[in-house]
Amino acid sequence: MKALFFMKAGKGFSMHQDMKTYDVTVIGAGPAGLGAAKSAYENGAKTLLIEREARLGGILKQCIHDGFGLLIFKEKLTGPEYAQKYIDMIKETSIDISLLTYVTDVKKNQDGFYHITMITQKGIKHILSKTIILATGCRERTAKQIFIHGTRPSGVFTAGTAQYYTNILGHMPTKKCVILGSGDIGMIMARRLTLEGAQVEGVYEVKSELGGLMRNYSQCLVDYNIPLHTNKTVTKVFGEKRLTAVEISSVNDDMSVIEGTQKIVDCDALILSVGLIPENELAEKLEVPIDEFTKGPIADQCNQTLKDGIFICGNAHHVNDLVDYVSKAGITAGKCAANYVNKERKLVKLQKSDLLSYCVPQYIDKLSEQKNVDVYFRSKARIKDVRISVTADNRVIATKKLVEIRPAEIETIQLDLSKAGNDILDIFLSCEKV
C-alpha cells in the first residue's frame, strides 16, 4: 500500500519550502502513464503519478473490447484487464498516486526543478519534480472541426463519448445511427452498439481507404453485416430537438463534395470517429515545440521533448493504434526520466522518406545511453511490398520488409544505435518499393 500524497498548502507562491520533491512526476494514469510510472519506479526514481479522474486506467476503463496486450502480455486482453494488470503491479510499489488531481500550472524554477501546481479536493497542492512525463492522452476531433452543418439537435456524439455512455453508464446513445469515420473507435462502436440492440445503418468514410485496422473491419463490420461506404461524408444534420436524419454526400479524393449526390438517411444519432488529437495544453504552456503533423511534442529516442526534463509518451506524443506500443513508450520514458541528468544533448534529426507522413522519435540524441530505439511511423498512402531501412551515415543499421503499409496502421522498426558508430552525422528512415 502506498500512501496517498497529501500536502498542506502554504500561504502564497513563494513559501513552499516544505514542498515534496520527486525525481519523476507522471501526468496521466492511462496506459502510457501507468507504464511510465512503473518503469520510472523500477529504475529507482521517486515517482508521483497524477490522474484527474477518480480511478486509474484512463481510456482503457471504457475499452471493454479485447485485442490489447498481444505483444506485451502475449494474451488477448480487454482494456479493463490490461489496466487492471498495471494497477495491480503499481499497487505493489511505493509510487505516490494522486487521484482527482488536475494540473493547472507547471513552471521551471531557478534551480532547474519543475514546480507543479495542482487542484485537488483537498486544496491547491504544490510539488517539485526533477522531470515530468506527460501522458495526457488525446481528445477526439469534433463535429465543428469537420464542419458538420445543419441544426443543433441532441444525438451527435463522438465515438469515445458514445462509448463512455454505453460502457460506463450502461445507457444507449442511439437506437439507429450513422457512423462517420472508419477509424478504430467508430468500428468498435459499430459492433458494440449492434450487440446492445441498436441498428448501425452504415459506416461512412470520407477517404477512399479504411481509416482503422483491418482486423477491426473484419471483426466489427463484416461480421455484423454493417456496410462501409468510402468517399462519402455527412454534410448536414437534421432535427430541431433530437437528431432525425443526416445528409450524406459523395466526395472526390480531395474530399470536396460532389454536388447532386446528397442522400438523406433517417437515424437518431450521428457518431463521429474522425480522428484523435494529442492533448498538449501543458506542453504548450511549457513552450515545448510541437510537431506540425503529429500535433504532439517533438522528442528524441528517450522520449524526451526538446525541453530538457520534459518527457512524453502515449497518445499525447502521437496517436497510436496499439496500446502495447504505448506501454513500450512508457517504459522508455520512465527509464530515461529516472536516469535523467541535466546534461548536453547532441540531437541529430531522424530524416524520413517522403512516402512517410511522420516518424517518431523525430531526433536521436547521440550522447544518450539509450541505444535501443523503437521507431514508429506511418505511410502517406497504401503501398504494397516495401522495404523499410534505417541508415546512419550511409550504413544500414536496421531493415525489414513489409507486405503492405497503410496510413491507418502504424508500423515500427527497432534500431540498435551502437551499430551506427560514435558520431552520427546523418540518419535516415527510408521506405522503398521492392
Partner: protein
C-alpha cells in the same frame, strides 16, 4: 490468403504461417469469436461491469449469448476473472469479469 472448398476438401493457399491455415479452416467449418460486453450490477456507482468470454464462442451463438448476459445482475464485489456465467449455452465457455468491480466504487478517500 485464399481458401477454397471443394465438396469436403478445403485447400488454403497464400497463408504466411501454419496458424493461418488452421484459422482459415476453422473459419470455414466452425467460426468462433470472442465476445466482450457489460453486465448490469446492483451497485449504484458502477451501473455496469465489463465482462468477456474466457474462450471463443461459436459465431452463431453470439446473439443468444448476449441475451443471457443481459439477464444478469451482479450483486457481489467480484474480482477480475471471477466467473459471472458458467458454461454459457453449454459451450464450455464462461463469461468472466474483465476487472475488479471495486475499482468503480466510490471510495472514502483516494487511498487504496
Amino acid at each position: 490468403m485464399t481458401v477454397k472448398k471443394n465438396k469436403e476438401e478445403i485447400t488454403v493457399e497464400g497463408n504466411a504461417c501454419n496458424r493461418g491455415k488452421d484459422f482459415a479452416i476453422l473459419e470455414m467449418t466452425d467460426p468462433k469469436r470472442s465476445l466482450t460486453s457489460t453486465v448490469k450490477t446492483a451497485f449504484k456507482d458502477c451501473p455496469v461491469l465489463p465482462v468477456r468470454t474466457d474462450y471463443d464462442l461459436p459465431k452463431d451463438l453470439i446473439g443468444k449469448a448476449m441475451e443471457e448476459i443481459n439477464k444478469i445482475v451482479v450483486t457481489k464485489k467480484v474480482k477480475m476473472h471471477d466467473i459471472i456465467i458458467s458454461d454459457i449455452l453449454a459451450t464450455g465457455c464462461n463469461i468472466i469479469a474483465s476487472c475488479d468491480l471495486s475499482n468503480s466504487l466510490k471510495e472514502g478517500d483516494n487511498n487504496e
